[in-house]
């Protein structure tokens, strides 16, 4: 026990010593800047420590004092004429300053019982800000995007495109040099996974390594972007955003059939629809002038939320719950705002009132009432996908079953009801009537320009003056590639969110994205063509100490594969992968009894009925998602729960993950099948190991690795030859047919080596 405490203390000591060595020295907030900026220096403090009681929420405001606006901060304090919270350039007269530095705890702000406390650094910032005039500025993310000039660089040799100017400028500021370019093998692995979610094939590796042309890399990037696997990779993120699942959720949790919508998402990415078209179809495909079956199918986006089919629910309560989900999803997915915080009361930090919330809510409130209740696959409104529909109108749907498939979609009923503000957010506590409208603080909703329906809402979203839409999406694509966004809180661009590490870069990329027709493939190409992206991921102790989270990108981050990639990589490298695109979700290997233990015993999802044959080897995005019992491997590797819109996955490390890569039949079967294939080839054991390693880790094996694995193989072969029954048991894994006339001992020994390679840290890391 004592040892553990010691570890904790030691850890703290290490952190502190790093800090002294300058770990945080480069972070601007630690150094009092010459000119204090409201957005970047002051507001984070006020927002975090003061706005709870002196912020936008009128109901929680104390002493009628608000500090989030200059008018509020400069006006006379309640019941006084000559006392002011802030008097610009006058510390003595600024009651705020007196309060935050009060010696008497009764006068101190924030009050002791708030559990909030200002640090001395924070007090210094506020002091300097008042001295310099206490100037307010609008929140950076709510100001229109202004495309900045590229920063001038001291050393311009490194930069390959515009991105690099912004990155290098900061690095020069803090005195770090970028890493060298990664070696070609690792760069190829990285870019292949980032664009397609799959490792490069040995053929592609060979071709790229052998191509010395200046545009060799660009050709590969173009090839990857043109492949159909690009759409699947992009979809894996979008399914999180859209909270896609194959069951309705809640306790009964019955089957639903939304997968044709998923087929559309993959199709839309592969056709490289502009982000504007992609989103407009999903939000308002039933209202667009070119309305057709495809645009209506896309509106399934807003039916992916959970539906409570429990008997005896109060209909209105759950109807409101569903509209709430659509509203919150709209806020988080497209605006990067925590709109949901304004459902029960005015937003405590952001200029979004409860009325704003319900005005936005009104756009999603015009659906017909629920009709065909009960445990059905799809509740109206819906469209039916028949073979004729697939043949004539929606050829991208991979429908193999004979029966028709119903997909839930959105239908507008303009006069179905009026929308009201709900007091405290409670479904039956009806307040004033509201009109469909968006939060004015983001961008006023001009009803001369936009219709007051979801189509108008989409137009508002893609208005060039909308400050958030482009920034939020560009930031998320950056996050998917670099592991963290320029704004790290990719779901919160509001006052409490993280400030951008490179605001100029985000603005430049966002403006560029809009100027170029919201072209998603172009955006991704721009990012992966940068010198920033191509850096090696080697990290020196210096860099680790100075920038442990790699905020400044003086190296590429080493990022673990996500749940889908881990599976897809094993299947692809072993040759098991079934490359089929789209179609219904599949039930792959899963430990027995999981669904049975947790289900109520009713309905078709009470028991897990595993698929067989080629369906076992589909990519991870097609794994069946039953919301109440999520696929265990995915869950353990941080897949989203699909309970609500998620824009950012965690990346954790636990021993339960090690147990999976050690014992999950999918990985073991991949090792077995790969081994069988290699054993059949006419080559030396050394060649086989070299080939397996090169395919799985995606780089040439080093001599010391090869030597070690060779001797490990010899050892295993002799061990298994003494216990052939063990060898037979070991290779008896998975349903893929065994190779004919296989040499049990050799297959087992090589399988052991391959399985070890599958478990290497580097294997499932983009490095």
């Amino acid at each position: 026990m004592k040892k553990k405490v010691l570890q904790f203390v030691l850890l703290s000591a290490i952190l502190i010593s790093c800090k002294q060595n300058g770990e945080y020295a480069s972070i601007p907030a630690k150094k009092i800047p010459d000119v204090v900026d409201y957005n970047f220096d002051v507001r984070p403090i006020l927002s975090d420590k003061c706005f709870t009681c002196h912020g936008p929420d009128v109901n929680k405001r104390a002493e009628d004092l608000r500090l989030d606006t200059p008018e509020g901060a400069y006006k006379a304090l309640k019941d006084t004429e000559n006392e002011f919270a802030i008097v610009p350039k006058n510390l003595e007269k600024s009651v705020l300053y007196q309060k935050i530095t009060a010696k008497d705890s009764a006068d101190l702000m924030p009050p002791l019982d708030s559990n909030l406390k200002l640090s001395s650094y924070e007090i210094q910032i506020l002091k300097k800000w008042i001295e310099q005039g206490a100037a307010y500025k609008p929140h950076w993310a709510f100001t229109a995007i202004d495309k900045p000039e590229l920063p001038e660089l001291k050393n311009n040799d490194w930069a390959e495109n515009e991105i690099d100017h912004f990155i290098l400028q900061k690095l020069e500021d803090i005195g770090l040099a970028p890493n060298q370019t990664a070696d070609k093998e690792r760069l190829l692995k990285r870019v292949s996974l980032d664009i397609t979610g799959l490792p490069p094939t040995p053929e592609m590796q060979k071709r790229f390594i052998g191509d010395d042309a200046a545009d060799a890399y660009e050709k590969i990037v173009d090839e990857l972007l043109a492949s159909e696997q690009y759409g699947e990779k992009m979809a894996s993120h979008w399914l999180d955003v859209a909270r896609y699942a194959d069951s309705h959720g809640f306790q009964n949790d019955q089957l639903r059939t939304m997968w044709p919508w998923r087929d559309w998402v993959i199709h839309a990415f592969n056709e490289n629809y502009s982000y504007e078209k992609f989103v407009t179809y999903q939000l308002a495909g039933d209202l667009v002038p070119q309305k057709n079956l495809e645009t209506i199918l896309a509106t399934g986006f807003n039916r992916n939320h959970k539906i409570n089919q429990e008997a005896g629910i109060i209909e209105e309560e759950f109807r409101i719950e569903n509209v709430t989900d659509r509203t919150n999803t709209f806020g988080k997915a497209f605006l990067g705002l925590t709109l949901e915080c304004a459902k029960c009361h005015d937003h405590k930090y952001d200029p979004i009132s409860q009325k704003d919330y319900f005005s936005t809510f009104a756009f999603f409130d015009r659906m017909p009432p629920r009709q065909n209740k009960g445990e059905v696959l799809a509740e109206a409104p819906l469209i039916t996908i028949t073979d004729e529909v697939v043949e004539n109108e929606l050829p991208f749907i991979n429908k193999k079953e004979l029966e028709d498939v119903d997909v839930m979609v959105i239908e507008e009923k303009p006069d179905v009801r009026t929308t009201h503000l709900l007091n405290r957010g409670v479904y039956d506590d009806v307040g004033e009537e509201v009109m469909a409208q968006t939060p004015e603080s983001v961008l006023a909703f001009d009803d001369n320009t936009y219709e007051r329906n979801r189509l108008g809402l989409s137009k508002w979203l893609f208005d060039a003056k909308n400050p958030l839409t482009s920034r939020v999406f560009v930031n998320r694509m950056w996050q998917e590639i670099f592991g963290a966004g320029v704004v790290r809180s990719s779901g919160d661009f509001g006052m409490q969110g993280d400030l951008p590490t490179h605001v100029g870069l985000l603005n430049w990329l966002s403006a560029d994205f809009m100027e170029n027709g919201w072209d998603m493939k172009r955006l991704i190409k721009k990012i992966v063509m940068s010198a920033t992206y191509k850096q090696s991921s080697v990290v020196s102790e210096d860099k680790l100490a100075l920038d442990p989270d790699n905020k400044y990108l003086s190296r590429m981050s080493r990022l673990r594969f996500n749940a889908e990639m881990i599976r897809d990589h094993a299947l692809a490298t072993s040759g098991l992968l079934n490359p089929e695109i789209g179609g219904r979700s599949v039930k792959v290997y899963q430990p027995d009894g999981l669904w049975e233990a947790a289900s109520s015993g009713r309905g078709v999802l009470a028991n897990y009925v595993q698929d067989h044959g080629k369906d076992l080897y589909r990519r991870g995005i097609y794994i069946f998602i039953k919301r109440t019992t999520l696929p265990p491997v995915q869950l353990t590797f941080d897949a989203a729960t699909r309970d609500q819109c998620e824009v950012q996955r965690q990346s954790t490390m636990t021993p339960l993950q090690a147990l999976i890569t050690l014992n999950d039949p999918t990985i073991l079967e991949s090792a077995r099948v790969f081994s069988e294939k290699l054993i059949q080839e006419e080559s030396t054991v050394a060649d086989k190991i070299e080939k397996a390693f090169g395919t799985i880790v995606c780089r040439t094996i080093k001599p010391e690795e090869k030597e070690m694995l060779l001797s490990y193989y010899d050892e295993q072969e002799s061990a298994f030859s003494l216990e052939t029954e063990k060898a037979a048991a070991f290779i008896n894994v998975g349903e893929y047919p065994a190779a004919q006339d296989r040499d049990v001992v050799k297959v087992a020994a090589l399988m052991q080596i391959i399985h070890t390679i599958y478990n290497m840290e580097e294997t499932i890391v983009k490095s």
């Binding site: 729960t641 954790t652 993950q657 147990l659 290779i731």
Partner: protein, 484 residues
């Protein structure tokens, strides 16, 4: 800032926490296993602890939560209402019902005929606690438990109500109560998860359970509840594949570690040594977990106490015995779910079976802990997600009836861990519909549980999406009257 630093630590951010650990310190457990036990020693400087940790001396160190999933009727268990028998078949007076919303299942009923318990009640123990004849073994330990008859909640449907009980909110991606304790207190055992979940099913009308109930929500997924199953793999993928013995596995891990070490030499990424340790931890779990889940070595008198079911894996009795073993080994939060308590009809028939499933083992668990001297530091909670109506749902006969969901009052019991023993707390009206004395809301129960574990429910927070969240949201009061 300090606070964020500690939230950062508590959430075991890999780079700062494990990374540094792996570089310079070593020997840290991983996963929900991976938080050092912050309470295991007193030497950590006070300002280095998260705010919640320094406020009270903890009475309880561990929790066992016995969720009676589906909502057992309080009127056939602990809340004795003879008046309902007198008023058999009479309509619930509208003045008593007030503005209570009804579920869609009974909202359309023309009448709400009152019905009393078909099962007899008696007072037991020195405390004179009322218990129905369905629970003869719990009746024997009434002087060790505290029955709360004045619980109430906000939701009237299973999923939102159960989610509320588990996370303090009816909807949304909030952390489960066990995850909060994993986050706030860490693990006492470096080879076992801090938060373990066990499921069982009765024969009564069941409602499913769902993994969201033991979800980490926005906390790091290392705080997720780990579900142990009755299968050969008590933790998923725990066992080595066929043909692979422990020695062969050890050999494989040694080779793997050497390969990974070569990677570390090249990249210098502290994630790599952290990953080597992760595999070692997994290797240790492979022996630690089966030792815990093997109940065969328990002495006969213990097996007898829990009842014959305790040797049948996956039963409530077996899970109770497992819960004792895990808790004894330092698992911070053990949670059982027993399904089948949703008696909308045939209550008389179904409730007998359900009670039989849980009565003996629930009582045995408390007695067992007490005999080992562990009850004082282990808080046991026995609870459904809401109560049931005092009127009949569906057809009422002299012999049988059903009861719908009722959020305004229900009964639970708690034991050990610094709670008063031999007490009945709170009162409902003579019709068992409304609380008339000492209401305890779910948020209050959460606040009290946290208090007993030494945490201030207002101070154990986690900042997410710009807001500091807590288990009790912005509510909850510690029920001081329950504290021993």
């Amino acid at each position: 800032m300090e606070k964020e630093v500690f939230e950062h630590h508590l959430n075991a951010n890999r780079r700062h926490f494990l990374g540094k650990m792996a570089l310079g310190v070593g020997g840290v457990a991983l996963g929900s296993l991976l938080m050092p036990d912050l309470l295991s020693g007193k030497k950590v400087a006070e300002d280095q602890l998260p705010l919640g940790l320094k406020h009270f001396a903890a009475k309880a160190k561990r929790i066992i939560l016995l969720v009676q999933n589906g909502a057992p009727s309080q009127l056939e268990s602990f809340d004795y209402k003879p008046k309902l028998n007198d008023m058999f078949g009479q309509d619930l007076p509208p003045s008593v019902r007030g503005d209570q919303k009804l579920t869609g299942m009974t909202a359309g009923q023309k009448s709400f005929p009152l019905v009393g318990s078909k099962f007899g009640f008696k007072q037991h123990g020195k405390s004179g606690t009322w218990v129905s004849e369905l629970f003869p073994n719990i009746a024997k330990i009434t002087d060790d438990i505290c029955v709360i008859k004045s619980m109430h909640t906000d939701a009237i449907n299973h999923d939102p109500a159960l989610t509320f009980m588990q996370t303090g909110a009816q909807v949304g991606n909030r952390p489960s109560i066990g995850s909060w304790f994993s986050y706030g207190l860490g693990s006492e055992n470096k080879n076992l998860p801090a938060y373990c979940v066990l499921l069982s099913k009765g024969k009564g009308n069941g409602q499913g359970v769902y993994s969201k109930l033991w979800s980490n929500g926005f906390l790091d997924s290392s705080h997720q509840g780990v579900q142990l199953s009755a299968s050969e793999d008590p933790i998923l993928y725990l066992n080595n594949p066929d043909g692979m013995d422990r020695k062969t596995r050890r050999n494989m891990l040694d080779h793997l570690a050497s390969l990974n070490q070569m990677g570390y030499d090249e990249f210098g990424d502290p994630e790599i040594p952290a990953k080597i340790k992760q595999y070692e931890m997994a290797f240790r779990m492979q022996t630690a977990v089966p030792e815990i889940t093997d109940v065969s070595k328990e002495p006969d008198h213990i097996k007898k106490m829990y009842g014959p079911d305790c040797m049948v894996p996956g039963t409530y009795a077996a899970n109770c015995l497992l819960a004792r073993k895990m808790s004894e080994s330092g698992v911070r939060f053990v949670q059982l779910y027993h399904q089948g308590w949703d008696q909308h009809s045939n209550l008389v028939g179904e409730m007998k079976g359900q009670a039989k499933d849980v009565d003996m083992a629930s009582a045995a668990l408390i007695t067992d802990l007490k005999q080992r001297g562990l009850l004082d530091e282990t808080l046991v909670i026995w609870s459904g997600e809401f109560g049931r109506t005092n009127y009949c749902q569906g057809k009422l006969t002299k012999e049988n009836y059903g009861r719908d969901h009722h959020p305004r009052c229900f009964s639970i019991f708690v034991a050990g861990g610094g709670v008063k023993a031999g007490v009945s707390y709170g009162k409902t009206d003579e019709l068992g519909y409304n609380i008339i004395e000492s209401p305890v809301h779910i948020h209050d129960l959460h606040a009290t549980i946290m208090h007993l574990m030494g945490l201030d429910h207002e101070k154990l927070t986690y900042k997410h999406l710009g807001r500091r969240f807590r288990l009790t949201d912005v509510h909850g009061h510690v029920v001081k009257d329950l504290l021993a």
